[in-house]
Symmetry: C2
Subunit: 168 residues, 2 copies
DNA sequence: GACTGATATGTAAGTCTTGACATGTCAAGT
DNA sequence: ACTTGACATGTCAAGACTTACATATCAGTC
């Protein structure tokens, strides 16, 4: 068993939560409801589904309209998903370009730093709008609340930082 | 110019902020002060420094004790860093295993979900301790405040979620 | 003098992820 | 009939990242 396999877990989780789906459907979910949690494009999803089918975690139906293939989670896949969810220890891997900009803010002049933080704030606000458009109910409920809270925290940080920079 | 090159930026930023340093020094910085912003191990850092030297962004001193090489940022490297800091548009690439667990929480029984959220909360609290040990001043000041705020938000989310699950 | 642990640098294999390219279907409007 | 746009699947090369392996120095201590 591999250590990193969150793409698999995300795919298994979606199949478990929303029922059988095609690679295209799953890619759409990543773009919309899973966007603030995990990101993956179709170029990563299609090959992964093939591998997962080979490993017996999902089953593919015969082709439908437009070559569409519907994947269904198998009992083995459900078991693997459940084990991961219950046993996975949280690891904080952070790789955040915005935080990197924030880290290096002292290397800029006050004016430049203010412009950068304002851009970051605008980005967070746009993000807030995107997340606000998602339904508050449904499977992603808890993660959406977390995502919204994190974005609001980012906006607050930007406001505090702007105030600190302006009074410098 | 490549789209993704945050490792380079992080290395250039550290060299600019703390002055000349060896690969080992930089790896330590990633482990400690940059930990909540960007992560990279020495196996990624050493080859990247070689490439950056080839590209003229850093200059390597001749070897010191224990084969130690000291890298210094060049004017060209400083220019590249400055451009990135000022011009980089924020992109929100999220790949968060904890948020994935949160997303899929509804697939678990209430008891299992409570156990998972408690583990997540403990993880955030440990994280808070780690971040709390860092100096509040210095280059990473702004990013540290952001990191602390994000972790506190995570703890709050866990508490709210636990309350919601327990009253279910 | 031998051992231990922190210092210090590297390579190689394999996995994960992105971006560019490639192909073809179906529905709706003109 | 033709065109357009959304639907749908895929490959490939390159880049980013991890894990395991490999090596050697230096300081302190037993």
């Amino acid at each position: 068993m591999l250590a990193r396999m969150s793409l698999r877990i995300a795919l298994l989780g979606l199949l478990e939560a929303v029922g059988p789906a095609s690679g295209y459907d799953l890619a759409k979910k990543f773009e919309h409801s899973l966007n603030h949690v995990w990101q993956a494009g179709h170029t990563q999803i299609y090959p992964e589904l093939v591998k997962m089918a080979a490993d017996g975690l999902v089953a593919a139906s015969s082709e439908g309209a437009r070559g569409r293939k519907i994947y269904t989670i198998t009992p083995e896949g459900a078991r693997e998903l459940h084990t991961w969810l219950v046993e996975h220890e949280p690891v904080f891997v952070v790789r955040n370009e915005t935080a990197l900009q924030a880290f290096l803010l002292p290397l800029l002049s006050t004016e430049e730093a203010i412009a950068v933080v304002e851009r970051i704030k605008t980005g967070y606000e746009a993000r807030l709008v995107v997340l606000g458009c998602q339904r508050e109910d449904g499977t992603g409920h808890y993660a959406l609340r977390l995502g919204l809270a994190q974005v609001r925290t980012g906006i607050e940080w930007a406001e505090e930082t702007l105030a600190a920079l302006r009074s410098r």
